[in-house]
Symmetry: C2
């Protein structure tokens, strides 16, 4: 197939998806919910096929020497699939934001003004090895009335092909246009560039994957991009913090699922707590296989650790590596986070209410936490039901993006012949 043929095909597919999105935008909640119920049922009844497809994808990725965090993300296990089905069911149960009216008011001159919540339109979801994210994105798109054009990584080709069938069946079963969720077939680098110029059809691009993919998309897109850059999440252990709690936050943040963006990459410890806090934590982390990279002050309490290099601060390790630094005071922790943070998730462990409040109000990140694990920065864990990603830019959405972040409002105005004077 020549390049130009593919480009035309993409344009046609995007146009078809945009038209399907316009009709999905007007679909009744009950119809969208039924599509989601059908989707959940199909994921359950075709679980064996999905797991087998995932095994084949994984085997291929291993043959290609894919990095460990990709292999981890790629794999659909029985328990992950169960979680995923539950997540689709949770999305089904969520309140449909579309069609809600907000900020209703009658102005002094009698003009009635309110905002009507509407979908964004057609979203291009560009991901690498993320079968779970793909399903969640599709479910959220259906519920929020948005079309979704999915370009999944070739690493998940087998699962993608199956998901394309499952989504199409779920939509057509309830009388919706199956093009509303379109999984694109294998797309080259040049095709992707072409896709990112289709401003007439696509309203928003959401890339999910490594920093390289996200940079490529940002730099080549003519369509607005919701960026989900790297997560370089810090835990700062304050003077007087509950050190037992802080230890659990550090261990959970680093080891719960190190390949994810909301895992801890660096630990900052107030100097007055370092001697008590670091040695037992170091021991436990060592037993859990965590490699520590430490600054000279922390090295005094972590004799087995390697010295951190300059490149380790602000690094998203995505594996069992943790940078550790002892800071002289709270202000130094804030400075470090401002310099090396990635606007993703920042945590303070503290017993001081003033510093807790100050941290929440001033630290620049989509999610700022007190005495909670960074791993909880997730649409599901924060009560959004599911998420399509975690935005680290401030436009349209900041932090986890759920249903509401996939909608906007238009002004609807009713007068009785009101004029502008």
């Amino acid at each position: 197939m020549s390049k130009s043929t593919v480009a035309v095909d993409l344009k046609i597919l995007a146009g078809r998806a945009a038209r399907a999105a316009r009709s999905l935008a007007l679909a009744e909640t009950s119809v969208k919910n039924l599509a989601l119920a059908t989707l959940a049922k199909a994921l359950r009844s075709r679980a064996r096929e999905l797991l087998a497809a995932s095994e084949r994808d994984l085997a291929e990725a291993k043959r290609a020497n894919g990095p460990l965090h990709i292999l981890d993300r790629l794999l659909l296990t029985e328990s992950r699939l169960a979680d995923l089905i539950e997540s689709v069911t949770r999305v089904q149960a969520l309140l449909d934001p579309v069609g809600l009216t907000e900020d209703e008011k009658i102005l002094p001159n009698g003009l009635q003004v309110c905002r009507l919540r509407i979908p964004l339109g057609l979203i291009a979801f560009i991901c690498e090895a993320r079968p779970s994210a793909t399903v969640e994105a599709g479910a959220l798109a259906i519920k929020s009335g948005n079309g979704l054009l999915i370009k999944a990584g070739k690493e998940m080709a087998e699962v993608s092909a199956l998901l394309a069938e499952i989504f199409a069946a779920a939509l057509t079963t309830v009388g919706l246009d199956s093009a509303a969720v379109t999984l694109l077939p294998s797309v080259t680098h040049d095709d992707l560039k072409e896709l990112l110029t289709l401003v007439e059809s696509i309203d928003l691009v959401i890339p999910r994957g490594g920093e390289k993919l996200i940079r490529f998309v940002s730099e080549n897109s003519r369509i607005p991009v919701l960026k989900h850059f790297k997560g370089v999440c810090h835990l700062y252990v304050d003077k007087g913090a509950d050190l037992g709690m802080a230890e659990e936050l550090a261990i959970n943040g680093k080891t719960n699922r190190p390949s994810t963006c909301n895992s801890l990459e660096a630990l900052l410890v107030h100097q007055s707590e370092a001697a008590t806090f670091l040695p037992p934590l170091g021991l436990r982390l060592e037993l859990l296989g965590v490699r520590l990279k430490v600054d000279p002050a922390a090295a005094a309490f972590l004799p087995n650790a390697e010295p951190a290099g300059l490149e380790d601060w602000g690094c998203e390790f995505l594996n069992l590596t943790l940078a550790v630094k002892v800071v002289p005071d709270y202000a130094a922790a804030l400075d470090h986070i401002a310099r090396y943070g990635s606007n993703h998730t920042e945590v303070i462990a503290t017993r001081n209410p003033g510093r807790a409040e100050h941290f929440l109000r001033t630290v620049e990140a989509g999610c700022v936490m007190v005495n909670a694990s960074s791993r909880l920065n997730d649409g599901g864990c924060l009560g959004l039901g599911a998420e399509i990603g975690i935005s680290t830019t401030r436009l349209q959405a900041y932090g986890p993006m759920g249903l509401r972040e996939l909608t906007t409002t238009r002004f609807i105005v009713t007068g009785q012949g009101h004029l502008r004077t």
Copy 2:
């Protein structure tokens, strides 16, 4: 000055403005309000200078044969300045959205989650001959805690220089960094391109001006752009509409201030009303100097009108020209609007509640109106106090953008040692 020197200067200016924006983001409401009061006072006390500067700008634009709608937008009259001062005072009186918490909830596991409203950061405001818009943008930026980097058109050079002084004084008087509102000195085309790549400092670009400027900005920006493309606003006069009211809506929509984006460009009339509605309206419009471009069906009732060409549908005339078409039914009006509308403002004159509701819910535009003049699609008229522009894209804001649209929320989370399982 060599090109690279200018580029470096722009980068330095933007970096300085970004730092000032970070401190403005944390300023108390009372301090921001005092800055606005100082601004209003200065606009009042320096009115004579401003009007004189505007006269000089206008004279220069006339010498350069600037188009009529630019000349109109350029001019600051005494009454426009009074409106502007009132608008600054209105912004001062508005509730400060920054620091408000929303959606507070305690999840079943005890985790406290809420959203904290925060500014967007540093906004680049790129406009042509818009002195009023520049002042309103600055006032909204101060109140919403955002930095503003203003690149105003060279047509308003004299007014710009004065405004730069006035803004700087208002900020420094209350102890804020004057760089938070930076009016850039004369900037070339190449400099503007450079500015649009400063992703490290600038969070959002808002262009205000003609379609050409907005396209240039959209196509060259690496920073997200809130687009305010042309306003091709339609009024559809439904079967059974109150024709007296509809006539006033048509006249107000077209003639109140034809150079603005919320003016009517096309009138669609249900065939059953055309014979009654069009002849007297045509007469009044003619007396007001409006040039009509009509389809063959409308021509029967408007014998003096010119035939409309294909290019007249979807055209933003920005002057006293109105396209008129007779449509067979409501569906044909919807089709016409879907094809030629610009997602800006669409109006129906109707007495039928079902069609009113249907129009509000399904017509694709940032502002959809029933029985009200399109000219009322304006932040001030819709109760937002003031506006920084009217967005025709759906990301972050759709329709008029006021204070809230210049902010976002971050998640703030408080736990008692909550972990991810």
